[in-house]
Symmetry: C2
Subunit: 282 residues, 2 copies
C-alpha cells in the first residue's frame, strides 16, 4: 500500500495501468466500521482502490470542531491496509489549498437546507474538496456513506451537473448493535450519553413505522413524534427533525414519493446526525 | 470525423484507447484562422483531438449578443475536418443545462476585473462550461487563444486550484495582415469600421514600444497613450485600457514583471478586445 501526500505520485500510481478501474473512498480519517465497509466495497468492485485521509478545513465553520476532530492516522492506515486498499492520499491543508488558492464549487438550492442551514458553508467546502479529490484520483467509482444523506444528494447533483465521469455509490449506514450510527464523533460521548444515543435511530424507526405500518401521511405529525422522543431524552437537544423530499430536500406537508427522514441532535457537547430513506411511498 | 451531441458517444470515442493522448479545442463555432491554429496544434501534439462547438448561454449577459452570435456549423465542421480533428461535440443548451441544473464554479478575485467588470457573470459562465467540457472529454491538453487573455488567466487558475489533470496551452493570437486580431465578431464591422479596427493593435504596439524601447515605467502614462489613440479614431469608443499585472490582473502604478496590456473598444455596435503580454519587464 502506497501512502503519499504527493499529488504527482497519486497520478503516477493511478495511471500506471490506464485500463484499470479505480475506486475512491474519501475520508477525514478517524475510521470506524462504516468507513471500513466503504473501503471493502471499493476494493471488491474495482481493480484498484484509493482512499484519502484529509480533515478538510473548508467544510468546518469557525464554531465547528475542526481542531478537536479526532486524528488516528496509524490506526487508519492499518485499517485501509487490512481492507486491501492500494493507495492512500494524506495531504496537508497547504497541499490542498496553497497560497493564492481561490476557486469554489457551489451546488445551488439544496445546500442551504438541513445540515446546510445549521452549518453555513459546510457543503461548499465539501463540494470544493471532493471536486479536487475527483480530479486528483479520477476514479471509476466513488464511495460515500448514507449516514451523510444530504452530502450524497449534493454530490450526486454535482456529479450530474458537472459531468464527472464516475459512478457515485452510496453505501448503507453501519450501526452499533443498539442502532447507533457509526460516527467518528461517538467517541466524545460520556457513558450516559452513549447509553441514550440510540434514541436517534429509535426515533427514525418510529417515524418509519408511522408512515409504513400506520399509514400516516401528515409529515408534521411525524416530525412531532421525533421531536417528542428526543426531547424526553436526558441531555439531548434537538437541532432539527425533518421529513423531506429525498430529491429536493424540501420539507413536506404530505408524505409521498422518495422521503428522507433526518435529524440532528446535540447530546451534551456532541452533535450527532442520522437519517432513513424511504422509497416510493404511495 | 465523428460529430455528435451525445455525451456517452464522446466518452466512448475518447476512452476507446485509454493510452491515447487527447487534445481539446473548445469553441463557440464561427471559426476563423485563430481557431484553426488551435485545432492544428491540438492535432499535431496529441494522438487524437476533440473540438467542441457550443454557444454557451451562461457566459452571455442579458444585454450581450447571444442571439445574434454567428452560427456557421457546416463551415465549422469542414474546418475541423480539414485540420484533422477526430471528434466534434455539438451539444444544445438542453444537453449542457438540463432541467434542475444548478452548479457553479467560481474563480475568485480575478474574474471581476477587466472583461469581468463590464460583463458581470461572464467568467462564471466560462468556468462552468469549461469544467463540464473538461469532465466530458477528459483531455490530456486543452488549447485556448491568447486573444482572450483574461480567460486564459482565469482558466489556468481554475485548473491549478481544482487539480484538473491536463495541460492548458495558450496559443498566440492570429492576426489579419494589418494587425487586427481574428474574431468571430469582426464580420459585424462596416467597411469603415473595419478600416479603423487595426487601431486596437496599433495602440497596444505603441504601448509596448513606450515600455520596451522608451523605458516608460509609469503605467498611467501608457494607459493615457492608448486612450488617446482610440479616442482619435472615428466611431471608436474606449471601454477600458489596462496595464495590469499578468498574474493578479491588478492595475499597476509602476510597470514591473509580467505585464498584461489590454483594451476593449466599441466600434459602432461591435465590441472588440485585444491584448499583449510582456514578460519580465525590469
Amino acid at each position: 500500500m502506497l501512502v503519499t501526500n504527493n499529488i504527482d505520485e497519486i497520478r503516477q500510481a493511478r495511471w500506471a495501468d490506464p485500463t484499470a478501474s479505480w475506486g475512491l473512498v474519501p475520508t477525514m480519517g478517524a475510521l470506524h466500521a462504516g468507513h471500513l465497509s466503504l473501503a471493502e466495497r471499493a476494493v471488491s468492485e474495482n481493480d484498484k482502490a484509493c482512499a484519502t485521509i484529509f480533515v478538510n478545513p473548508t467544510q468546518f465553520a469557525p464554531t465547528d470542531d475542526l481542531d478537536k476532530y479526532p486524528r488516528t492516522l496509524q490506526h487508519d492506515l492499518d485499517t485501509f491496509e487490512s481492507a486491501g486498499i492500494d493507495l492512500v492520499f494524506t495531504p496537508t491543508p497547504d497541499i490542498m489549498y496553497p497560497a493564492g488558492f481561490g476557486t469554489r464549487v457551489l451546488v445551488d438550492g439544496i445546500t442551504d437546507k438541513l445540515e446546510g442551514e445549521y452549518r453555513p458553508g459546510h457543503f461548499d467546502g465539501v463540494t470544493q474538496v471532493v471536486t479536487k479529490l475527483f480530479n486528483i484520483v479520477q476514479p471509476t467509482r466513488a464511495y460515500f456513506g448514507q449516514k451523510d444523506a444530504q452530502q450524497t444528494v449534493v454530490l450526486k447533483k454535482m456529479v450530474r451537473d458537472l459531468n464527472f465521469n464516475l459512478d457515485l455509490i452510496v453505501c448503507p449506514t453501519v450501526r452499533e448493535a443498539d442502532g447507533l450510527a457509526m460516527s467518528s464523533r461517538n467517541r466524545y460521548l460520556t457513558m450516559t450519553q452513549r447509553a441514550n444515543a440510540p434514541v436517534l435511530h429509535a426515533a427514525l424507526q418510529r417515524a418509519a413505522d408511522m408512515i409504513v405500518e400506520e399509514g400516516v401521511r401528515n409529515a408534521e405529525k411525524v416530525r412531532q413524534a421525533i421531536r417528542k422522543m428526543i426531547n424526553q431524552t436526558p441531555e439531548a437537544k434537538l437541532i432539527y427533525a425533518s421529513v423531506a423530499s429525498g430529491v429536493t430536500l424540501d420539507e413536506l406537508e404530505k408524505i409521498h414519493g422518495e422521503i428522507l427522514i433526518s435529524l440532528a441532535v446535540r447530546l451534551g457537547e456532541t452533535r450527532l446526525i442520522d437519517n432513513l430513506m424511504l422509497k416510493d411511498v404511495e
